[in-house]
Symmetry: C2
Subunit: 307 residues, 2 copies
């Protein structure tokens, strides 16, 4: 079977790893978010793609939740001492990848080709595609002003309540080579337990991706990022409360209106399945705390195709 | 008094430190070689300027002879794993500086302004000027082909005998702001015990610098990089033998024909002072093995102004 996963950062990466414990690497295509990409120290950084890469390559720092295990911070110590741009925490091991990518991009390679090369060099067999090779950037509107995504998320610690989002470049962005073909040929389309607003919405904002999902032949199943109405990590719960009016499964499903057929919800949210409409709930434990839990979540989501 | 030092990498850096044990930081201006600058991993690297900076800031690795003490190599390990450009050894601490500089250059700052900013951030009070802000690159002609300097020096381990040198851009290059003024106002002009062909010649190849030296009012004193006819480090002796016909003081002086009034030579070369012409020999111990030796070499060279 062929499965396409729309994925953001940590939640997307961990769910991808869970799926790969059930399906083979050639059966899965991951479409990654690039709305939180940024230029820092003159280098193009793709935090969500990298989190997926590092996780699937077994290089990620599981405790910190981002970046590489065994990381050091010497380059940034120099940058800081020299009064340079040190707010975005690029470790030394991580920097090597950004340098190689930036050089390839500067030489004219599209992000998808560079990502494929990096994945291959790191031994990641699963296909990882950026949603688009074109420039797509998430902007966050708050009472304190409009911020580039990472400025809001990292520099301001995602404390400012979000009034709105804009995905610069999304309407005109073309899906990266292979994205539409993968979606059209999928037996199942999955949406990872990532933040619907800042991790998945930038992917769906690419018009051609959204349109192929609206006309999908295969079932589409999203995994809610909430457990007991709370995000495992990050501001998804606060954003749902503020922007969607609540944190129940119905509000998660509403983020994907017309785009999904089923929603995997945690047992702790199963008391409140009203308002899902035509979206079928799949209730299970969603916390990926160990291999067994990951596998059973993956199987529940993959069950969407068998139903 | 005001002294201008023309300096390459290690020899220049150590001699600059020696001078600063005798004169105050505001009395010295260092004009650094940029002929061995290169672009690596998309970053502009100025190895000679950086060696001077690190040495004067007390950050250099004295044993290795280049780069920073306590250096780590994690970024490059990633670059290597990803099949990127890993031949030029950029350590993590060092990379931070290159990132900050590359970003400033990309924003339009001239190399001299960036160098001043880096020096200031590292607490280096002495003025360090690149010979030019314009592009100037040393090319090395050998029987195996013509190579960019670092390709010959690092990648090929400076094993190919040198048939000739070319300083791309030198004739048209304008001296960096402050260079001509410093030379014109100097009480003494010094040439460091650097490689005459690849460290000092690129500076002298800048037409306006060469012209102001030819017309100098102040005495100019070079320090021979040879001890007993051998270079302390690097290929200077082999290059002198091949390109100047020998390794005696006269052949060193010939590299600076018309540009110096005295040559500091090591005691071990004092038996062979023939052919110096109007260049006055200053015989002393030139190996900078400790603070005492550094100081006495500096005093011998500075004595040029008092003679």
């Amino acid at each position: 079977m062929s499965v396409v996963l729309l994925a953001g950062g940590v939640g997307g990466a961990r769910f991808a790893r869970a799926l790969l414990e059930v399906v083979g690497p050639s059966e899965l295509t991951i479409v990654g978010n690039v709305g939180d990409d940024l230029e820092v120290l003159g280098l193009h950084v793709s935090p969500d793609l990298d989190t997926v890469l590092y996780t699937l390559a077994g290089l990620s720092d599981e405790e910190r939740g981002w970046g590489r295990e065994g990381e050091t911070w010497n380059a940034l110590a120099t940058v800081e001492r020299l009064g340079g741009e040190a707010w975005f925490r690029l470790g030394d091991l991580d920097l090597g990848l950004h340098l190689v990518r930036a050089q390839a991009l500067a030489a004219g390679a599209p992000l998808s080709a560079v990502t494929a090369r990096l994945a291959s060099a790191l031994g990641v067999e699963t296909r990882l595609l950026p949603a688009t090779d074109d420039r797509l950037r998430t902007w966050i509107a708050t009472a304190s002003g409009v911020f580039a995504f990472q400025e809001w998320f990292v520099l301001r610690g995602h404390r400012d309540p979000v009034d709105g989002l804009r995905f610069e470049g999304a309407e005109a962005a073309r899906p990266a080579p292979g994205v539409l073909e993968a979606l059209a040929g999928a037996r199942l389309i999955l949406v990872a337990p990532s933040n619907p607003f800042v991790s998945v919405a930038p992917i769906l904002a690419v018009r051609a991706i959204r349109e192929v999902l609206e006309r999908r032949a295969a079932p589409a199943v999203a995994v809610s990022p909430l457990i007991g109405g709370r995000a495992v990590k990050g501001p998804a719960d606060r954003m749902l409360a503020r922007l969607a009016g609540g944190t129940s499964p119905a509000q998660v499903a509403a983020c994907y209106a017309g785009l999904i057929d089923a929603l995997v919800v945690d047992e702790r949210d199963a008391h409140d399945l009203a308002g899902l409409g035509e979206v079928r709930p799949i209730v299970t434990r969603t916390l990926m705390r160990d291999a067994g839990a990951r596998r059973s979540l993956a199987e529940a989501a993959l069950g969407g195709v068998r139903a």
